[in-house]
Structures are given as C-alpha cells and as structure tokens.
Assembly symmetry: C4
Homo-oligomer: 278 residues x 4
C-alpha cells in the first residue's frame, strides 16, 4: 500500500459542493453531527482514504467482516424536499449569477473513526482530504468539532464557537448563532479540523470551524445538535432531530446516574452506561 491510497468508488457531478468534515475529536461532536447528516439524508459513498498514518488496525462490522482503517467521503444532494432553500451563502458572486439561489445544496461529507497518529501525518492526511475536496470542486468547508469546557452544560447554554479563514465570513455565521470569543479556543484548534482551515486557506478555500461547547467527558448529542442547527441555517436544510434527541435523553440518564454514583456508592457504571463515554 502506498503511503496514502484513495479508492474512487463513485464520481457523481456535484454542484459547488460544501465540504463538511466530522472526524473524531472532543466529545465526538463533529463525528456525531456529520454522521447524523448521513443517517438523515440519502448519500452516496464516493471515496475511501487509507493511510499508513492511520492506526494499523481493522474494525469489525456486525457481520464479523474486517475493514481497514480509513476515512470516507459521501456525497449528499440536498433538494427542496430536504428543505434546501438556496440559503444566502454570503458570496456576492453566487448571487450575481443567480447560482446561489437554486434550491439545492450539494455536500461532501467526510467521516471516519480515527485521525492521523503522527505530527506530520496530520498534515499529509489532511492534504489528501483537501485534494479530494478540490477534485469535486469544493470551495467552501465547515470543519465540525467540540470545545471542552470541563464541566457539564445546562440545556440552554449549548453555544457554538467559531473560527474562520477569512473575517468576512463571520457576519453570516454570527447571524446563524455562532459566537466568536477572543482567546477561545485557548490553544487554537488541533488536528484535522484546524488543518482544514490552515491548509484550506492556502488553497484558497473559505473554511469555518464550528465548535460545539461540551464537557469533554461524554460523547455529546446535544452539542452535535447545536452545531447542526448552525449548519442548517447556513446551508439550508431541514432535519428531524428526533433520533438525536433520543440519544440526548439516554445521555442525560447516564449523567444523572454518574452524578448519583459519585455522590454515593463507588460502583462502576454498566456497559450500557459507558456507551456514551467518548
């Protein structure tokens, strides 16, 4: 196997697709959000990316079949049925030629179970991801992730923080509810989400990172929802959050149980309890 191998599975024509990156990170927020898009909308697997910088392992699916570690790109074609409404994308060019007003939005969704395992590996693998994105004509990107607060978050406080490659992008994002706070996130953005912005900018992409606040202790469906709601606003689609809501309720039960346990008995949570620990 070469250092990086990209399997071309399908080659649909995409119209000004937006890259949505959701690899695992804090609270698995980005991962949950991106995978939710693939669950709720029809999608087509277009690329698989393998790399010797990914963990040297296979995952086993429900059938007992082994799959080599990889990242996947799926194409999603949102139509009026999905609530696509030609949302203003802040790009005068598109408005001028009327392209921003079509009631459809193509997405190129990047998901996976692992990030690169070495310093230089992160650069190489993200470069490969951006090569794929560019090959499909991507010019805009959203990197999804979480930012840890260190403490459990009350329902009404699920804020989404932002970072951009270009200050001009902030206005629409703030209108969609994203907060830009000075000095946050402290320490910047590490890993593929940061590099989608850092390397993306050097390729002329306009990229924004949406980071849902989360405790950092649990896989957080509420934070994922907050991030999806911003995307929904920016890209124009409607999605049913019922399934994500169910997971959120399960998570709340786990949180209560853990809080009880820590208050009283020191017993170990059960396997089911732990399903949400990221």
């Amino acid at each position: 196997m070469e250092s990086i191998e990209i399997d071309e599975i399908a080659d649909p024509e995409l119209d000004e697709p937006v890259l949505v990156e959701g690899l695992p990170g804090v609270g698995h927020v980005g991962k949950l959000a991106a995978e939710y898009l693939l669950e709720e909308f029809e999608s087509e697997l277009v690329r698989r990316v393998y790399a010797d910088e990914f963990p040297p392992q296979v995952s086993i699916d429900d059938e007992g079949v082994a799959e080599l570690t990889c990242a996947e790109f799926h194409a999603v074609h949102l139509t009026a049925e999905d609530g696509a409404d030609g949302a203003d994308d802040g790009d005068d060019e598109d408005e001028a030629d009327g392209e921003g007003d079509t009631e459809s939005q193509d997405l190129l969704v990047l998901t996976g179970d692992h990030q690169a395992q070495s310093n230089a590996g992160h650069y190489h693998v993200t470069d490969a991801f951006l090569d794929v994105a560019e090959s499909f004509g991507v010019e805009r990107a959203f990197a999804l992730g979480g930012v840890p607060t260190g403490e459990l978050i009350e329902d009404e406080e699920y804020t989404v923080l932002g970072a951009v490659t270009d200050a001009a992008m902030k206005e629409e994002l703030e209108a969609a509810g994203v907060e830009f706070r000075e000095d946050e996130p402290a320490g910047g953005i590490v890993g593929v989400s940061g590099l989608v912005l850092g390397l993306g900018e050097r390729r002329g992409l306009k990229a924004a990172c949406l980071m849902g606040e989360t405790s950092g202790y649990l896989v957080d469906p509420k934070s994922a929802r907050a991030v999806l709601e911003v995307l929904q606003e920016r890209l124009g689609f409607e999605v049913d959050y019922e399934s994500l809501e169910e997971r959120a309720e399960e998570m709340e039960e786990v949180v209560s149980k853990i809080q009880e346990m820590q208050g009283g008995d020191e017993g170990m949570p059960t396997g089911d309890d732990l399903r949400y620990i990221g």
Copy 2:
C-alpha cells in the same frame, strides 16, 4: 541495510499454500500456535525479513551467537501422514477442478519475536509479509492471535473468536467452532494480524483472524490449543498436543501459585514461575 531486506533462503514449489501468521500479541497465543506447527511438523526456512522498523537489537541464542531481529517464513508440507485429508476449504473452484481433494496441504508459517515499532512501520512490514506470501502463490491466510478477557478462563470455556475479509468464509469457520460475536473484539484488531486482513483483502486474499480468548496476563498454551484445533479442522491435519498439554499443566501450577500468593504472602514469583508471563 535497506528499510526492509528479505533474505531468500530457499525456494520450494508450494501448492496453494495457506499463510499462517503467528507474531507476538495478546497472551502470545498466535506465536505459540504457529511455533507449535513448526515443532510438530517438518518445515523448511524459506525467508527472513529484516526491517529498520523492528526493534534495533539482537537476540542471543543458546550458543551465545547474536541474531538480528527478524521475522521468518517456514514452508510446511502436510501430507496424509500428517492427517491431511483434503479438508473442504469452502472454495467451489477447488472442488470443481478436483484440486481441493488432494490429500496434502502446504502452509507458509510466519513467526517472529517482535512486531514493527511504529504506526507506519506496521503497514510497511505487513506489506512486505504479504509480498512474500504472494510470491509463493498464497491466496488464503489465517492470522492467529488472542483476545483478552481480563480474567482467568475455566477449562471448558476456551472460545475462539473470528473475523474475516469476506462474510462467505464464516460458515465453515463456525462449523469448525469459531464464534462471531457482534461488537467483539471491541476496538477491532490491532497490528499485523489486523493488517493481514485489512491489507490482504485489498490484494484479493481471503483471510480470517482466529483469536483465542485468554486472560491476557499469561502466555496461554490452552488458548493456543483452542486456535490450533480450529486450524486443524479447517486445514486438515492431526497433531499431538502432548507437549502443549505439558506446558498448559505448568501454567496451571503457576496460576495456582500466583492465586495463593495474592491471597496470602506477597512474595515474588520465582524465575521459573515467571516463564509463562507473556
């Protein structure tokens, strides 16, 4: 020395050899099992693989002679004498042309004392292993290993879990006693055994990973035996387990002694006691 060097020691003609991989891992189950095949049957050393990804060290044999870290391929020719019975290998093609019915089975057994020491190293080294396997015409492979349960296992419970590159392979494996459990092994299969499946599948190999349940605390001859019994069923050979049985009895004595010690006196096990600690 090149990054990877392969010494060609011998070049026997092998007939549809099956790769059997047994590098060190959990409980040294795969290592024990593969090495047992080389002890019980006649074998011929055919390849040595050196790599700058292996630990930079030499082992010293009983004569005080140093040997640079390497992995070895031995060819084993199982005949009717060994109990080879042209076991049905689930491959209609073979049956159709009668090749699956010959009473012999060639094996290419891969052993060694170390795995690669870096992330990318695992990929490179396993690629080299598969190059060697392909050069001998290997089309099927068994990666042998252990899966840790975290607790000592009662005699009758030595289960062998499985994973495959192709769901069609499961039926015969289940018939040979292999269990396929959803969500197990949690975390997938890491290292060369996983990559034999992951990279092997991309080369068109049909590979199965057989993982003997083991505590994870000891080198486990009973688990190795359970795995060998599956292989015996699938490949068709008979082997005398007496020697492995002796080691199993020694291990049980060690386990009892450790259980006594942990219950009472905190003294250190003797050097002999520790011989089974993996």
Copy 3:
C-alpha cells in the same frame, strides 16, 4: 503542502543583517526578547515558514481568523534614531573597510509560537531557517533563550550565560556582561537555539547563544530584559524598557500571590494570574 514551505512576503535589501532567533523555550525568555524588538522598532514581515514538523494546528487571532502554525522572519532596520552606533562587532574585516562603522544595523528577527515536534524535525526546520538567513546575507547570529535555575531570582542577579561557535567571540560578549561558566549549561543547549550554533557553525556563521537565567516556572520579562541589554550593547541600539518593566511588575505580583497561596490557602490562581506561567 511540501514538508517545508517558505512564503516570500517581501525582499528588502539588508546590509550585513544579524539573525536574532527567539523561538519559545525556557521561561519564554528568547521569545519575549525577540518579540519586544518587533514591538519597539519598525519591522517588515519578510518570510513565513510552514512545516509538517510544526504542531498540526491553527491559532486563532483576536478576529477569530485561523492562522496555520508557522515561524516568521521580520527585517528590522536600526538607524541612528534607534540608537544604532555602529557598535564594534569584533570583526576586524568590517573595521578595515569601514563597514562596521555605519550608524545602522539590520536585523533579521525570527519568532514563532512553536518549535519542531520531532528529533529530526528540529534539524530540518533549523536548516530551513538558516537557508533563509543565508539568502539575506546573514553572517552573524544571536540565539536567545533561558537557562533554568529552579528557583526564583533576586533582582540584581539576572545573569546572562553564553555559548559561542568560535572562542574569539567571547571577549566582546564578556565585555557586554555575558558570563561563560564551565559546565553550564549542564546538558548543553537543546532545540533550535542549540542548532543555530551547531548547524550555523558548519555553514561558516558566527553565532552566539545568550541565555538569561530564569526560574523556569514563569514567563520571565526580567530575564528577557537582561538578554536585550546584552544585545543592545553588542548591536548598538536604544530601547525603552517601560513596557517590559510593566510586565515585570505584573509578574512580581503573581509571584507574591503564588508565594502567599503556597504558604497558606491552596486555592487555584485566577486566569489572569496564570498569564505568566510559561
């Protein structure tokens, strides 16, 4: 992105510029000192160096805009206004042709937030830095850093230790207050500052490392000032230390507070308090 990418932002003609290196290290002494030069004097950004050996992350500026990890070179042209006085640079050659007597001094100041993250990475990245320096005609270099003493330092004791590529350089440095102590720093000089000397010497550069003594626990503006005072003497410039002095006073308050806290209450310092923790 290539392994190392250098963006050429501007190409001013520099006259015998001296490289001043201030990447992060012990007490951030070198970083503070180099950045102070860029705050107090007019400077022009000339180069940005990106590398897959830098941490795979972006920092976020006050506007929420992401910046890929990089090191920067700024050109500083010190004139008589800045107090440049054609300070004797210990180079007879310059004196002979009168070039050392012009009342100006060009500097090429290297700053950044991170060093390379791997062993070989340090070599590669420092080689790139020296390539840039050579392209501007640099022949002399000062690598700025700190040497940890393990304990807080009294005001009058802010010593600057030195190391050079050429023993003949010591005399003027000692005249400027630098101390050369046998066996110090123990363990040598690690990282880019050490390699500016080690690799610089192999390219014929004359380089000195100025290391301000510092506790090692805090970002230390007083130590940075001690180092700047040596540079001021050697390169010939005048700078207002008021701003650095203010930071020093803030640091002293933090130190007092920490000493109180350790003596009494075990409460955590506030976010403001921690601003000086390196």
Copy 4:
C-alpha cells in the same frame, strides 16, 4: 545538513584495524572503556558523524564553544611500546601469511555522547558507522557495553559476558575470561552494540560484544576495567589502570555515602557525589 553527514578529518593507512565501539549504555561501561583507550594511547581523530537522528542539541566545552552532537572515530596505532605482541587473533589466515605476528595492532575507536533517538535511526546510524569501519578495512569488531545486575557488585565478581556473530570466536574469548551464559543477557542486546553484531554479521564482519556486569545505577569504572582487561588479552596491549583505579575509589566512596544515606538520613547526594550516576 543531510540525514547523515560524515566529516573526513584525516585518512591514515590502517593495517587490519579492529573496530572498538564504546557509545553510552548501561553504566556507561563501554563509553568509559573506549575513552580510556583514547586517554592512555596516542590517537588521531579521523571521522565525525553527524545525524538528524542524534539529539538536536549542542554540548558546550570548557571554553564555552558549542559542538553539534556527533560520534567520533579515532585511529590508534598500538606498537611494541604499548605492549602490542601480535596476540593470536584466532584467525588461521593471518597466522598462515604471518600477518598476525606483527607486533602492532591498529584500532578504530568509536565514541560519542549519544545514541540515535529513534528506532529506525539506530539502524541508519549504525550502518553509517559500519560504512566508515569498512572504508578503513575493518574486519573485526568489539562492541563494548554493560549488562545490569540490579545490585552492587563485590570486587572479585566483575564478570564480562559475551556474545558473538560466529560461534568459532568463543574459544579465544573464553580463554580471555569472557563468560557465555545461556539466556543472558535476557532480552538480547539493544542499540548500537547489538546492531554492530547484527548488521556487522550481514557485512561479513566478525564481531563480539563484551558486556561488563554492573549494577546499572552508577557509571562503573571497575566494570570498564574488566572489559578492558579482556580487550588487552585479545588485542595485545598494556595499559596503566591507575587513573581508572582512582575513579573506582571515588566511586566506592560515593557508594558508601549513598548506602549510609539510605540507611539513615534521606538527604540528597551532593553534586560531586552524583558525578558517577550514569
């Protein structure tokens, strides 16, 4: 700087030189022994080896001058004056043509303060060392090191263990007092000493590793002496051990002091005391 750079300092003609490797390891035994040869006999620096696999740092000499991490080769020409007695080297070829009977012995002594810092780095750097050795016509090598026993050693028990690339070499080594013990050293020989044998053997060199038993807690001059006494026997030279003896006495004082301290007061040893801690 290239990945590995070799500076050619001098090119004396050497007659069947024997490589003596003494890089740092357990108890610094090999380092002490090799450096002692350079102190007691006249030597000429012939090569310096730099590598991006060595720690990225400079050491500072007594003059405050920085030196980039490197390994050094010195040529030593032992004559009758040094006690060279054309010691029988176990090589019939030499005896047949009379070459083994000249009363001189050339050595190529390899010293340094660091080993490579990565797994593959050890292979690359040792390959470079062997390239240098071969360029001088080396056919035999002694890798010097220590083997840790975990406890302080009584005077009369300073054993030297051995390992060889070729069993035929054992006889003369045993005659010189080297012990070959089954299963020792456990875990083999790691690092450059092991690779001098492992990679050396693949180049047709005859190499032996001499490992002085040592506690592992201290730099051990007595163990170094034991190793030198074997070399003295095999290569034929006489050396005055007085200086090494002095260091041994200092070490014994440190050991006594440490034993007192551990028995009573828990105070820290002084800087002088620690000079022997490896």
